[in-house]
Symmetry: D2
Subunit: 144 residues, 4 copies
């Protein structure tokens, strides 16, 4: 049996995408966020917002960004612990840093701690470039 | 002009509901969360989850609960500062405490701080009773 | 063996105080925070700040309040799981709500979740009265 | 008058150190944390823990790390807004990632948002190297 490690992926980007698609069959294919890349300790996901994701003023809503932060952290967890385990979010903290324009969102998740039970990741969401994040989140998953 | 105060509502429950409905016209009427009650320092909102709100295992997803926490905090802010001001979420921290069954969700928001610029609220979401919350959140709004 | 439960204390206030005093022998007796009361699901601790706890302006510093929030949460954990287990803080979120005057601080910790591994509590710190908290915190302990 | 910007420091490391020393005269000189470097958007602080900072097991306590996170964020704020303004912490979230050995602590603060009123920073504390943080924190300061 492989012991999860921050230095090794147990699933690659395509495998995680397929696992999530099977787990959430009701999400239409054209509305899924996609894993753009996965490497040990890091997963990048992208998402194109549509009208349902906007709030007054035409900016991307907070709940949309929180859902994306949760999803990319889930993908990061799966990539490192594999498809067997059932993981659930136990806590999430998000800071909204600037108004988020309705453009392609990129979410970068970085592994901060891969414990046997608790997995903590740092997420940055950006549109213009990674040095100007629109949101920063800390997401904790618990592996039961 | 009325100065916002934790002791006075500037909008009642129906006014806040109508304001939110006008601000988010694309949300279908039968999928809105509703304000069940509003009094100084407190707003209660309820929401009936549907299939789109569930995650594998048939429990209510984390993003659904985060969106509800954000909404009830927004309603609490509006009730206390009135319909004029534009308020945006600046930070949210949520703890998921137990699996959330697909039943009517009740979200209780309580005002912790009503500053001129920062409004902090505590939110508890529950299904079985207020003493067994499924989630607890702290939500900060900023009034520009 | 007793299974920890939110409905039962495995240590009373005096036992928790004695356990903490033995675990932190270097803290002088007159500078300890004290457990004022303990009942299932709740622990109250008090602390009198001295000059070393103040920041410019003569108000109680943030780190002082964070340490108190951590301590009362630790006492809550010990009271419910007993003296055997080794518990460490895994996360803490605090909101400072108003300036904290240099008076007796009361910290009320309430159990939100008592899991086998994760214990989440809500803490409110106040001086004037429990309905005007100076700080609110969420504290997560992990039991290894 | 200079408008604060993430691209410019209004105080250098020595000026911030001197400002903090004058503001907190009761902290003995040999127990201060020191600014190791300051550049636009970043401040690094170091601190050598002593016996009073340890918890059972000989590891650096959570409150010690929280205080350090708050201090380095304060230094980051001062470096960017200058010595005039009065800034206070409004919120702090910390995740403890691994046991912190009693060695020299380095705290790296990075500016996430420099608003007119809210300043959000990300802090990583480490001993062995920046890629193995012992704690990650988000710290929000408010400028009154």
């Amino acid at each position: 049996m492989t012991v999860p490690s921050a230095d090794t992926l147990l699933m690659d980007a395509a495998e995680v995408d397929a696992f999530i698609a099977a787990a959430f069959p009701e999400v239409p294919d054209d509305r899924r966020s996609r894993i753009a890349s996965a490497r040990p300790g890091h997963v990048r996901m992208t998402m194109m917002p549509d009208a349902s994701h906007l709030r007054p003023g035409g900016i991307v809503s907070g709940p949309t960004q929180m859902a994306l932060a949760d999803h990319v952290a889930y993908a990061l967890v799966l990539a490192h612990i594999g498809p067997v385990a059932m993981a659930v979010t136990s806590a999430l903290t998000v800071h909204f840093l600037r108004a988020c324009p309705p453009m392609l969102l990129t979410a970068d998740a970085r592994l901060l701690r891969l414990g046997k039970r608790l997995i903590v990741s740092d997420v940055q969401i950006w549109t213009d470039g990674p040095d100007r994040p629109v949101a920063q989140a800390s997401v904790t998953y618990i592996v039961p």
